[in-house]
């Protein structure tokens, strides 16, 4: 509402300026025409043409062209030249019958009357309704459509003031406001850390700036170069891209390869891909660089919205559905890159912005060749090889760094069994389960030798009683020495149903000679790992691990290294309590020689979760598992820093691995686009003339005419579209992205509606900053990291958020930036920070998503039931969850995570009792509070220290002595976990100053 007023005033000023300008420039001869185009036409188009135009002709009257206007309507001629009193038009206006409800004011009436008096001389014919902005709509003179220029700094600015600050301060002075003092170092860093990475700063990071070891600017740079930056900003982008991983609509089918586009966005941000290229590839990557898998993946942008795959027989319905898809493309592209709601012109010219219906169809023509679906992307073996070398070198360096500490620690607790198996057997000693009651019984007499239990390959095997607990996700682990390499089909360890019908097993040489595989009933969950042929036999033990993830992914490790490639089976098999058992030596029952293993089994373990690569590696080196965190704690500060850097590099490299292996991606599939026609009222039944691909003419600075034929190829059309949108001459392109970045840092854009720079969106609060930063962005080769840096280093950003009553009274919404606006964390920031505080955040970058929903097919349709699965693979950052449209995460949902069906440039920030219930009581939050306290108790034995640690891990500060006393008393009485639950629910944890 605020904005409407501003808009109106502004456009009147513009209008007045235009009129004055035209009058002064043109000679007397043109004066009469000019008075029509400059005064009368805008008035007619603003007040009359919405009903009396060539299409609608209410009362038979069309005032848009000279001939029609003179002809009049159902009541007779409207205008009698030079005689207002005889003109119906004037009669209706004077009596205020027209325009209905909004009569003209006296000045406007005078304009019309004198025009008729002067002979009703017409100017541009028909009237160009889009020429000028007025108080109902934007014209071609609308501010955001004008070419970019670098604005002049305010005269008051001192030379060493940052331009952002100069403009903000000038505006504040104009409003009699003053900026707030600088924020404290700690709260500024917490703010910036969330702003850049979506995660809190570490205590060390705060300390390093406080002590002067590192400057704020240096730390900002460091954070911008961390992989968490790309993860955080990709989430912002995916909101705008309406990114989802299922179709939506009736079937809501999964898109198992949609995540590659998500990774592409993360990598693009992390690589600081120039924004120009970033946009071009998303619009037309597949036609611009058809041999580049990454460019193909980028077009996932176009098709990551909802899609109705259920096609009715009805032809008309099918045509309408296709038009809906094209509207989705044009709407998303227009809003994302240009802040234009072009989709509003599908059935008629845009009601508020200078976009014709014909231009809408020009835009659809550009995307008419684009279709939803999966497509192949080729593998890149050279790059894979190089990448693997780089990965290995980082791993080696990490091992070197960790080795001394690891040895030290493992010496200390050598009796540990490592990462908590649910059952473990050491066959060198006995067949007893060292954890529970799953003691193995030999089914034939067996021999125990120094190495373990001997399996003869003809008859011997062992079996446990039925499982006491159901096993779903799992890890099977065995140390085994093979008697010979040519045996086929025996298993080291197998989890089978009691009747032997279903099983998952570590099998040797069954389908492929000398190779390990994951055996399963009827091979339903079996694929080749394509691992190396086994070379060890005799007395040499080999360590084999197979993990089974909830999404069906099966991964094999040999001697602690990844064995071949993981693959995704159709499903994860459940082994129910009371109905399944563990067997050794036999693939599955009943006994048969081709299912028996010849060799010696030393030890075996089974876990009810998926071990990470580190855990497997640790287990393989036969050391008790020691968490990386424990090791890092023992390193020197320099070593810790180096470790963090190496780990980040490694995570990033690992993230790229999945993308280089080839496979499928859900992206644009280009086909022959055919010829696009304008559709009257948007209806396929009203096909009008053929329309070639083209842009929006009102956008100044470049031509919207693509000079292509209506039957041009998909490639030609989209290439032209990419050129027109992603151009430094397209003023909207840079303005819109600058505003998005500003919006996320300050909680409010310079333009408050990031997807709409048209009339309904409104004005920029600080147009000079928008243009100045846009010019900078172009000058810095479209580097978004530089843009962030400039914003984050401004005094405006570094202001305190402290409340100021006087300023609040003048500007409650803080649009003039007299302080930094405090905010609540976003949904993902909350979940990720909780995981982080609890010490559970798995920082693995990229790769297939984890599923916090249980997908199931029910009568042909796909459903997703929200679950709370445990384990490291589910403790990744929220951006890595599978974003099924029908399967949302209740915690994220409650905190305003948007429906991934429509582009969401800004998020609501609500406060509801459902949020409180979720934070207090949900299984995830309760579990995290428990894990959080367990982790703290492991590190500190004294309750006071535990309380301090809990405060540091949530608020990134120690408690005051009073706080500590109360918290300690509370934890004493109600448990440390209860304290953790309170801290995770607190406003200090959930809000930023």
């Amino acid at each position: 509402m605020h904005y409407k007023v501003a808009t109106r005033r502004h456009s009147f000023i513009v209008l007045a300026f235009q009129v004055a300008f035209l009058t002064s420039c043109l000679g007397a001869i043109a004066a009469e025409n000019d008075s029509f185009d400059g005064k009368v036409a805008p008035l007619l188009s603003q007040s009359c043409l919405s009903c009396h135009n060539a299409d609608e002709q209410k009362g038979g009257l069309d005032l848009s062209s000279r001939e029609a206007a003179m002809r009049g309507g159902d009541s007779g001629p409207a205008i009698s030249a030079s005689d207002p009193e005889q003109s119906l038009l004037w009669e209706r206006i004077q009596s205020e019958e027209m325009p209905p409800e909004h009569p003209l004011d006296e000045t406007e009436k005078t304009i019309l009357k004198s025009w008729i008096n002067a002979g009703a001389v017409w100017g541009t014919d028909p009237i160009d309704a889009f020429a000028f902005s007025n108080d109902r709509r934007a014209g071609r003179d609308w501010w955001s459509l004008q070419s970019l220029g670098r604005p002049v700094l305010p005269a008051s600015a001192s030379p060493d003031t940052q331009p952002i600050d100069a403009f903000v301060q000038a505006k504040l002075a104009e409003k009699n406001l003053a900026p707030s003092p600088a924020a404290s170092s700690d709260s500024l860093l917490r703010r910036a850390s969330y702003g850049i990475r979506g995660l809190p700063p570490s205590a060390d990071e705060l300390a390093s700036v406080r002590s002067g070891e590192e400057t704020y600017e240096e730390l900002i740079r460091r954070w911008l170069n961390s992989p968490q930056y790309g993860e955080h900003w990709a989430r912002h982008w995916l909101d705008v891209a309406r990114y989802g991983e299922s179709d939506g609509f009736e079937y809501d089918r999964m898109r198992p390869n949609a995540w590659r586009y998500r990774d592409w966005v993360i990598n693009a941000f992390n690589d600081d891909m120039p924004y120009l290229r970033f946009a071009r590839l998303q619009i037309a990557g597949d036609v611009l660089e058809p041999d580049n898998p990454s460019a193909i993946t980028a077009t996932g942008f176009l098709v990551c919205g909802a899609y109705d795959g259920l096609k009715p027989q009805v032809d008309l319905m099918r045509q309408i559905m296709r038009q809906d898809v094209l509207e989705d493309f044009v709407g998303t592209v227009g809003q994302t890159f240009l802040g234009l709601t072009i989709n509003c012109a599908r059935c008629h010219d845009h009601k508020f912005d200078p976009i014709t219906q014909r231009e809408y169809y020009q835009m659809t023509a550009a995307f008419a060749g684009v279709n939803h679906g999966e497509r192949d992307i080729p593998a890149q073996p050279d790059k894979v090889k190089k990448l693997n070398q780089e990965i290995e070198s980082r791993r080696e360096k990490l091992r070197e760094l960790e080795a001394p500490v690891r040895e030290q620690l493992s010496a200390r607790k050598s009796d540990s069994l490592g990462p908590n198996p649910i059952a473990a057997w050491d066959f060198t000693e006995s067949n007893q389960d060292l954890i529970g009651q799953l003691h193995a019984e030999p089914q034939e007499p067996t021999k125990r030798i120094e190495l373990g239990v001997k399996l003869n390959g003809n008859s011997t095997w062992l079996a446990t009683p039925a499982l006491p607990e159901t096993i779903t996700t799992k890890t099977l682990e065995a140390w085994v020495a093979l008697s010979n390499l040519d045996q086929r089909g025996g298993a080291a360890i197998s989890l089978q149903t009691l009747d032997g019908v279903k099983f998952d097993a570590i099998v040797f040489g069954e389908r492929e000679a000398r190779r390990w595989m994951s055996g399963s009933n009827g091979f339903v969950r079996t694929s080749s790992f394509s691992g190396e042929a086994e070379t060890e036999s005799g007395d040499t033990l080999v360590h084999v691990v197979i993990t089974y993830a909830a999404d069906g992914t099966i991964t094999c490790y040999r001697n602690g290294q990844l064995y071949g490639n993981p693959y995704k089976a159709s499903h994860l098999e459940n082994f129910a309590a009371g109905n399944a058992q563990v067997i050794f030596g036999l693939r599955h029952g009943p006994t048969s020689p081709d299912r028996l293993l010849a060799g010696t089994l030393k030890t075996a373990r089974i876990y009810d979760r998926v071990l990470t690569a580190e855990e497997v590696a640790s287990s393989a080196s036969n050391q008790p598992f020691i968490s990386i965190q424990k090791i890092v704690e023992q390193l020197s500060p320099q070593q810790q820093k180096l470790h963090t850097e190496l780990k980040q590099e490694l995570d990033q490299l690992l993230g790229q691995q999945a993308n280089l292996k080839g496979g499928k991606v859900y992206a644009a599939n280009g086909r022959n686009p055919g010829v696009t026609h304008l559709l009257g009222r948007g209806s396929p039944l009203q096909k009008r003339d053929a329309v070639p691909a083209g842009g929006i003419a009102a956008v100044q600075g470049l031509s919207a005419d693509f000079k292509v034929e209506p039957n041009a190829s998909d490639e030609e059309r989209r290439r032209q579209m990419a050129d027109w949108i992603a151009s430094e001459n397209n003023p909207l392109f840079a303005r819109v992205i600058v505003n998005r970045i500003w919006h996320h840092h300050f909680g409010r854009g310079l333009v408050a509606t990031p997807n709409d720079f048209g009339f309904n969106g409104g004005q920029a609060s600080h147009p000079q900053i928008l243009d100045w930063l846009a010019a900078e962005l172009i000058a810095q080769d479209w580097s978004l990291k530089e843009l962030h840096y400039q914003i984050l280093c401004s005094d405006t950003y570094r202001q305190s958020s402290v409340f100021n009553k006087e300023a609040h009274a003048v500007d409650a919404n803080n649009q003039w930036l007299w302080r930094f606006s405090p905010r609540r964390l976003t949904a993902e920031e909350i979940r990720d920070s909780v995981l982080q505080a609890a010490g559970f955040l798995n920082r693995q970058v990229g790769g297939p998503p984890f599923q916090d929903v249980r997908p199931y097919l029910h009568r042909g349709a796909q459903f997703y039931e929200a679950i709370d699965p445990e384990g490291p693979e589910f403790s990744r950052r929220s951006i890595y969850r599978m974003w099924a449209r029908g399967g949302r995460n209740p915690l994220l949902d409650a905190f305003d995570c948007p429906d991934p069906s429509a582009t969401a440039p800004q998020r609501a920030m609500t406060t509801t009792p459902i949020q409180a219930l979720t934070m207090l009581n949900s299984p995830f939050m309760m579990r995290m509070a428990d894990e959080f306290s367990a982790r703290i108790s492991e590190r500190h034995t004294e309750l006071g220290e535990q309380v301090e640690q809990a405060y540091r891990d949530t608020f990134v500060r120690p408690p005051t002595s009073e706080e500590k006393a109360r918290a300690r008393a509370f934890a004493q009485e109600h448990s440390l976990s209860a304290l953790c639950r309170v801290l995770l629910n607190s406003n200090e944890f959930l809000h930023l100053d």
Partner: protein, 492 residues
């Protein structure tokens, strides 16, 4: 800490009552923020003290409301109008002949068989003489309460887009549904319970899952909250693992103190103050939800009336009774689903293969409970200001889905003409409005679109459908898009 508390006069009780909270807030917050907070929290509302106010920029009522609350019985799959509420004697005569005429029906599965007469006998019912078939014998007994629209037209013949349109006005994913718009536009008479509650069919969710009760681009609190018939009614109402009540209470007190101290150090903040409040509201909800879901105070005869003692009516009867209790406790909009996902075997009204089997099975589940609900609402005086909606996304074809020379057993989707009914506040009861052609294929008289239907529902609630808007990506969005006319002839 205690020093700071006493400075701010923080009450020490676990539960702040309204007055105390008000006083504390006045002491702790500045005037402007206080006013906005109070309005947001409904304290300044003239109606009920704990009401949640409208969030609309142009808040209703725009005209005097007739209805205060809505219950929407949403039948998935498309029930057959010509077998229920739209009697077509001509169809009986022409049974076994082809549709004729020059328009070839363009149906979903493309198979146009011969015309099939209604499978259930029609009778005129009650004083009004409204036609209702034998498929709904119980419902027929309350025919005098119904306002049938027999000329509905939808824009899609595909279930899910059509269902989205039925509920949100749009065929696409991601637009707010009726219940969400009501919550946004009217708020709620209570802050103990959500404004919009969803009761899915016990056999499963409708296709599209939670998208069917989405808030779309409206703020998250307007999303439908699912109540389960069994177990804990809503998620996270109680801790996921047992906690001693004493500990839980102490935790909330400790949290409140932490938060107040945090707020006191920051002067004034709506954001922080309203989150403190949200934990108090959560505590109220923890009390209210189990209370409303507890049927132990209902009489034996009520339970019998709703069919809770019979296997086939128990599920839907339970949901109807729960719906009434929710409405009694000031929930704004309750949506009860009859039917789940599509596919085979059917668990909804999608009678492609065998109408008799399908509709008999579905109707028996809901007939008695719906009739009991109407009677119960009338008996309690609630029908005067409650609106009952009974709809499905489209109807079914008068010809069968079979070879062109056969009378098959099933009927295909028909979006070109079908029936729905409303009952209660502000309506002319016992009438049928509009008409389909003589065989019941297309709306022929006074066609009513979903936009019109929604405009009428909003009108009855005191809302001008053109004025209930929300800005989203360039458009002031409405439930009725850019269409919709109130169906005036059905209004009392």
């Amino acid at each position: 800490m205690s020093r700071q508390q006493s400075q701010n006069k923080v009450p020490q009780q676990a539960e702040l009552d309204r007055r105390e909270w008000f006083e504390w807030a006045r002491a702790g917050l500045g005037g402007a923020a206080l006013a906005s907070l109070l309005i947001k929290d409904g304290i300044a509302q003239p109606s009920k003290s704990n009401a949640v106010p409208s969030q609309a920029s142009d808040p209703p009522p725009h005209q005097p409301p007739k209805a205060k609350r809505v219950i929407h019985l949403c039948l998935c799959g498309g029930f057959s109008h010509i077998d229920t509420f739209d009697y077509k004697p001509e169809l009986v005569k022409r049974h076994g002949s082809s549709l004729g005429g020059d328009q070839r029906p363009d149906v979903f599965f493309g198979k146009v068989g011969l015309l099939r007469k209604n499978d259930w006998e029609f009778k005129q019912r009650g004083e009004s003489g409204l036609w209702v078939s034998e498929l709904f014998p119980h419902l027929a007994e309350v025919a005098d309460e119904l306002t049938v629209i027999r000329s509905m037209v939808a824009n899609s013949s595909s279930h899910t887009p059509a269902t989205f349109q039925e509920n949100s006005g749009f065929r696409a994913n991601g637009f707010p549904v009726m219940g969400a718009w009501m919550s946004y536009g009217l708020g709620c008479e209570t802050d103990d319970l959500p404004a919009y509650v969803v009761l899915p069919d016990a056999r499963g969710f409708p296709a599209g899952g939670t998208t069917n009760w989405t808030n779309g681009f409206l703020p998250a609190q307007h999303q439908g909250v699912v109540f389960r018939a069994n177990g804990t009614p809503i998620d996270n109402l109680t801790p996921s693992r047992p906690i001693q009540a004493k500990s839980d209470k102490a935790s909330l007190e400790f949290l409140r103190d932490l938060n107040r101290q945090h707020l006191a150090a920051r002067g004034e903040s709506d954001l922080l103050a309203s989150r403190i409040k949200s934990y108090q509201l959560a505590a109220k909800m923890q009390q209210a939800v189990p209370r409303v879901a507890d049927f132990s105070q209902e009489s034996e005869s009520t339970l019998t009336d709703y069919g809770l003692e019979r296997e086939e009516t128990r599920d839907f009867g339970r949901n109807c009774l729960l719906a009434r209790r929710l409405l009694e406790n000031d929930v704004r909009f309750v949506q009860v689903f009859s039917g789940g996902a599509f596919g085979s075997p059917r668990i909804n009204w999608d009678g492609h293969e065998d109408m008799i089997r399908n509709h008999n099975r579905e109707a028996v589940r809901i007939d008695q409970p719906v009739a009991a609900l109407i009677r119960d609402l009338r008996h309690r005086g609630m029908l005067d200001d409650t609106l009952v909606l009974f709809t499905s996304e489209f109807g079914r074809t008068p010809f069968t889905q079979s070879a062109s020379d056969q009378v098959g057993k099933g009927r295909d989707h028909n979006q070109t003409g079908f029936s729905v009914w409303m009952a209660g506040a502000g309506l002319k009861p016992g009438i049928a409005f509009g008409a389909t052609d003589e065989v019941g294929w297309k709306a022929a008289e006074n066609p009513v679109s979903w936009y019109d239907f929604h405009a009428t529902v909003l009108h009855l609630l005191g809302i001008d459908h053109t004025r209930l808007t929300y800005y989203h990506n360039g458009i002031q969005r409405r439930l009725t898009d850019v269409h919709g006319q109130v169906v005036k002839p059905i209004l009392a």
